[in-house]
Amino acid sequence: MIQRVYMFRRFERFWHWSQAGLIIFLLLTGFEIHGAYANFGFKKAVDYHVIAAWSLVGLWIFAIFWHLATGEWRHYIPTRKNVMVMAKFYSSGIFKHEPHPFRPSLVNKHNPLQRLTYLAILTMLSPLIWFTGWLYLFYADWAAWGLSKLQLEWVAVGHTVGAFLMLAFLISHLYLITTGHKVTSQVKAMITGWEELD
């Protein structure tokens, strides 16, 4: 019997998709600034990258407030329980038509691997990107802030490392959303808010 659960509320979906769009756009403009390819032209790429970055900052302010106000932040509390079960499912069970070992619910939206991944992004990858990005933006003020010893190269390399990790996450994320009940059920859930469960 298929059950339908209203898993993702309107703000949550808005946050997810606008964040997804901004991150993809930031990757595109960022790698152009990095010299990996040419599309907008360097100047426009820089301008757009900065606009998108500040937009994402704004979005995050709302999202953090929303998570705190609604208690949704609890979905990112890590657990060691069932991590191995999940790993085993992805590495073998999924090929043998075994049932998904995790059943999401309103109080527990993410499987243990998701929790770990999202938490790592939240606490490690994002701070790396934000921190280096802000330093990059305020390059002219380093001397005034007493940071004249800081090298732009370190900041730039840190920012680039963050970008590559985000790219890798994006690729795996785009694939893993196909591993739900049906290939399209997870993406549908994030669009409509309704998730179909066995």
């Binding site: 010299g35 360097f42 820089v46 038509h97 002219a140 680039t160 690729i171």
Partner: protein, 536 residues
Amino acid sequence: MKPVFARVALGMCCAAWLAVAVAVPADEAKSAPKPLKLNTTADHTKFKELQNPFKSGPEVTKACLACHTEAAGQIHRTKHWKWEYLNPDTKQMLGKKTIVNNFCISIASNYASCTSCHVGYGWKDANFDFKSEENVDCLACHDTTGNYKKPPGLAGNVVTKDMEFPPGSGKILKAIDLSQIAQKVGKSSRDTCGACHFFGGGGDGVKHGDLDSSMSAPDKELDVHMDATGLDFTCATCHKTSSHDVAGSRYTPMAKDTKGAHMSGRADNGNPASCVACHGNGPHKKEPRLNQHTAKVACQTCHIPAFARGGVATKMTWDWSTAGQTDAQGQQITRKDAKGRITYESRKGDFTLAENVKPEYAWFNGHIEYTLLSDKIEKTDQRTPINKLGGSPTDGKSLIWPMKVFRGSQPYDPINKTLITPHTAGNDDTGFWKNLAWDKAIPVGMKDSGAPYSGKFEFIKTEMSWPITHMVAPKEKALGCTECHTKAGRLAGIEGVYLPGRDANKLVDTAGWGIALLTLLGMIGHGVLRVIRRKR
């Protein structure tokens, strides 16, 4: 009676008017000079002292000094007069009197020719009296007529009677009217400064690359500040002169002005001829990101996209080692390129010339050390620097500057290991330009310099850097981002700065793309396996 009287009176008036009208010759009425735009309280045409026919430059100067009693003394303290400058940082004695370059090499033994650009009269040899007040040349800088000329070869003197020069050449130098020039003196102009500074190195645009006769009345494209129909700056607008002391120096230039826009009455009383002196350190209001560049990049780097943009070519190389070739009759020859520019002269050697030249770029902190005649130099594969420019990405005093780098080959004494100052100009038997004989020209020149000469010479490759600062283009023509923010851009050779778009950490890039690719392959593999297994 009354009407008759009135008629007579009217007739007399008419006659008087006619008489006045006739008395003024028609030509003079037509060519009557435009009224001088007075921005001083004195109209020099009214001074009786200036209405005499002057027979020489010093006579004019004496008249000037009768009122401007301290002017000569002020001039005596300047580089323009002394051609001598003690660099306070390096303690090197510099100035035109001492330095050796890789253009015409040196003024020693060539005074009469070179000193046509001295602000004085009569510097014909090493015995010139630098204390003389009447030998100060006021008109070189204060002429407003454009008629004031100091032909090379006359030791800075002017021609007041038509004369044949050089004697026996059949060339006539025309006399100039010093009285007329003296009555119209005014502030210095692009033309007065340019009379020497546009022609440095022996011809129009030869030396600087960013100063040539096109700057006499430039359009906005060529120089946004000097634009003759726009802002119409003179040289002295930036090189703000006080007590005849002209701001700005090529020996101790200010590479990085951190003091912001200059305010009248500011305590430090500084007077830099820098961009920042007017524009401040953060002049990009609409594009604040550009202000971030000012920590590393000189204004000139972006705002002077190329030099020699006014249609006058500048010399880029000069090879003295090929000088001396003659035709079958033993006559001096010249060769020209397709554009009619001289690329070979028997008396000077081979040149290359160029217009619209993209500068080279270097970190520069304002310290310049010259290679002087007294310095021992080893001949190596590297070019010997005529001037060594200080600068590094880490000294906190340097910015990335545009440069004209002038490369040449010039005489060198392999025994004493010094540069050589040959006697070039002069209508005498030992002058190289006349007789093309190095063995005669070098001993005379070296003797005049007071330097030892071993009797042997060869040629040494040299280079000289000229920071570019004039010919500032309108902002629309400033460099775009990708002139530098790209793999092989203008700053490709500049080290010590991370340039987004140019630089990347190879390891991070390789690892990063590797991780992204492996993730992709992993996901594809996983997906394919799922599809295959599901079908079973």
